[in-house]
Amino acid sequence: MESPLVYFKGLFSKGITHKGLGQQKAESPFRAMTRKEAGDHVRSWRFIVMLILIALTFLGALYVSLSNISAATANINDPDRLFVYLKLLTTSDGTLPTFHVFISFLGPLLGIALGFDAINSEQNNGTLTRLMAQPIYRDNVLLAKFCGALIVVSVLFLCLVLLMIGGGMMITGVLVEPGELLRILGFVAMSILYVGFWLSLAILLSVRFRNAATSALAAIGIWLFFTVFYRIIVNLIMSAVLPSSGPLPPEDLLSYNNLLLFLLRLAPSQLYTDAATTLLMPSVRSLGPLTMEQMAGAIPSPLPLKESLMIVWPQVTGLLAATTVCFALAYYLFMRREIRT
């Protein structure tokens, strides 16, 4: 300390009271940054808007499923009828999509909203130079942005789902099974991962584009491409590839089907929907086509949790890999960047 006298006065009055509480360690800069980011998000209008939107769709989906729950659980042909809480998340009478379908297109919007101006707004406001002049690692800035937003998203999803379980218990009086709870938590983790992918993509774009509007537009463009156009393009490709004459032999049919699934699974929303469906519907046995030989002798019963997890594992890996690639690219661009306003 250069001049102890300058800070002397306050130390006596404040220092003693704090000694009683024990010496707190100074928190690490990374934690301070993450805390600030999360706080900023919670207070920001755009998060409040997204929160209201997601809460409303959640309530809507829940209302529809609650009004159909007695019919769904009474359906003897459905092997999943005993999982009341999973049914709550997946039942619909066709008027409203189910919650995970909502998330498959609202989740990206949430991720984009939280990330599109992560770096460029700081740069344009001149706070990035100020931040970089502090003794902190550059990658910590990116990571704090990512973690801060992801914490907020996680809390949001967990709250919604736990509220749903609590409300379901009050209404139906059925206790939640441990397996069911784990499946629902798995679904939450999957949703967080899915939003995390879009978040890291948005952060990447915010590093790449100096203008926040440009990066938001680019992110929304990518999102629209995957939600609207991608399916059309895949259909176009498939109709071009498929031979038009006559019925196909089963082997060819199978290979074309696999090609179609492969192309569809390049879209993150498809990965998410696949994984969410498998986790929330224990009777789903495969995400691809099954032959008659495979189906022969299979009893239509719910799979254990471990088997369901095995089925979605490729989807989880794919989303994780995509997230990591985006983050690594952002990191690469940001580390080499010369910071000046």
Partner: protein
């Protein structure tokens, strides 16, 4: 200079074929206030960024407190406080919160932080306004908050990039005297970049003139003017109540002195150029001759003149250095006309 705290050796930064900083070598010793002076686009900010390790030099070495800035920027940033030219704050936080956030990033312990933040705000004179949101701050207040930002970290070196930009004249004066006072009290080394000659002149111990990526000259003001203006480094302006006699024995007597180089008489103003400071002798001489002196002023060569002189020399040497020379000329002539 035995123990330089900042050491730049052959520092070069090129953007494509353009050289922003060209083979810069500079040493700054502890406790000094050094003014980096140059027109816009001379490479001042680039040099500072290289010292901070925010930009990698194309060639050369920047050593701060004995640490290489490009390979170990974190260690350098612990010792060095940097105030950028356009400072931004988080507008939705109060000034104190902004300051405390910076404190946390510097691992200042929580119980010490609040006292230190208050104290720093008092030092920079924002004690009354520390709970205002920074969006309500004026430019001058933001500049002060920027200084607080730097001071709360208790650095050994402070780098201020264009610190007086956009502050009103009285604010500038206050700000500069604050910097000077802090530097003297706490033994801080200060590196100050500016294109405002007079301000730099007021506070700096030593200046370096920086044009087109190259350091033209460095040294204290006196040496600089002596080198440049050589013999005629002291000019004495004496004004009289009555028009001064164009000739006479006192003028002859003055001319007889060795050190006097030139005397110009313009109505009631006499200008004496000399190589040594002989103010008392000249005044005594005139008083003895019964002339009514109304004012004596020692004309020191300001940076304006120095700047101009170097610029002239530089332009002769390389007219090819188009951009910066043009800017330089413009900024200089604007000042001259004003």
């Amino acid at each position: 200079m035995e123990n330089p705290i900042i050491e730049l050796e052959g520092l070069t930064k090129s953007y494509g074929s353009a050289k922003a900083v060209d083979n810069l070598s500079l040493k700054i010793s502890r406790g000094e206030i050094f003014g980096l002076l140059g027109p816009n686009g001379a490479g001042k900010t680039t040099t500072i960024l290289m010292m901070l390790g925010l930009t990698e030099p194309t060639a050369g070495l920047a050593r701060v407190c004995g640490v290489d800035a490009s390979s170990n920027p974190i260690a350098v940033k612990r010792k060095l406080g940097y105030m950028p030219d356009s400072m931004g704050f988080y507008d939705d936080m109060t000034a104190l919160e902004n300051l405390m956030y910076i404190g946390r990033l510097n691992r200042i312990e929580e119980h010490e932080l609040i006292t230190r933040a208050h104290k720093t705000m008092e030092i920079v004179g924002l004690g009354e306004e520390m709970h205002k949101k920074t969006s309500a701050y004026s430019r001058g207040m933001k500049q002060r908050l920027g200084l607080a930002d730097v001071l709360i970290r208790e650095p050994e070196i402070i780098i201020l990039d264009e610190p007086t930009l956009g502050i009103d004249p009285s604010g500038i004066k206050e700000f500069l005297s604050l910097i000077r006072r802090l530097s003297k009290q706490q033994g801080l080394t200060v590196l100050l970049s500016s294109h405002h000659l007079h301000q730099v002149q007021q506070v700096c111990d030593r200046v370096g003139i920086f044009v087109g990526g190259r350091l033209l000259v460095e040294g204290d003001m006196e040496t600089l003017s002596r080198n440049l203006f050589g013999e005629e480094s002291y000019v004495l302006q004496i004004s009289f109540r009555e028009p001064a006699p164009p000739s006479g024995e006192h003028i002859e007597a003055l001319k007889a002195l060795d050190v006097v180089k030139q005397i110009t008489i313009d109505k009631n103003l006499v200008e004496v150029s000399c190589s040594e400071d002989i103010t008392p002798d000249v005044v005594r001489l005139f008083v003895q001759k019964g002339l009514n002196i109304t004012g004596v002023r020692k004309k020191e060569f300001g940076l304006d003149e120095i700047y101009h002189r170097y610029f002239e020399n530089n332009q002769k040497n390389n007219i090819s250095n188009g951009k910066s020379a043009g800017l330089f000329q413009r900024s200089f002539f604007k000042r001259n006309n004003a």
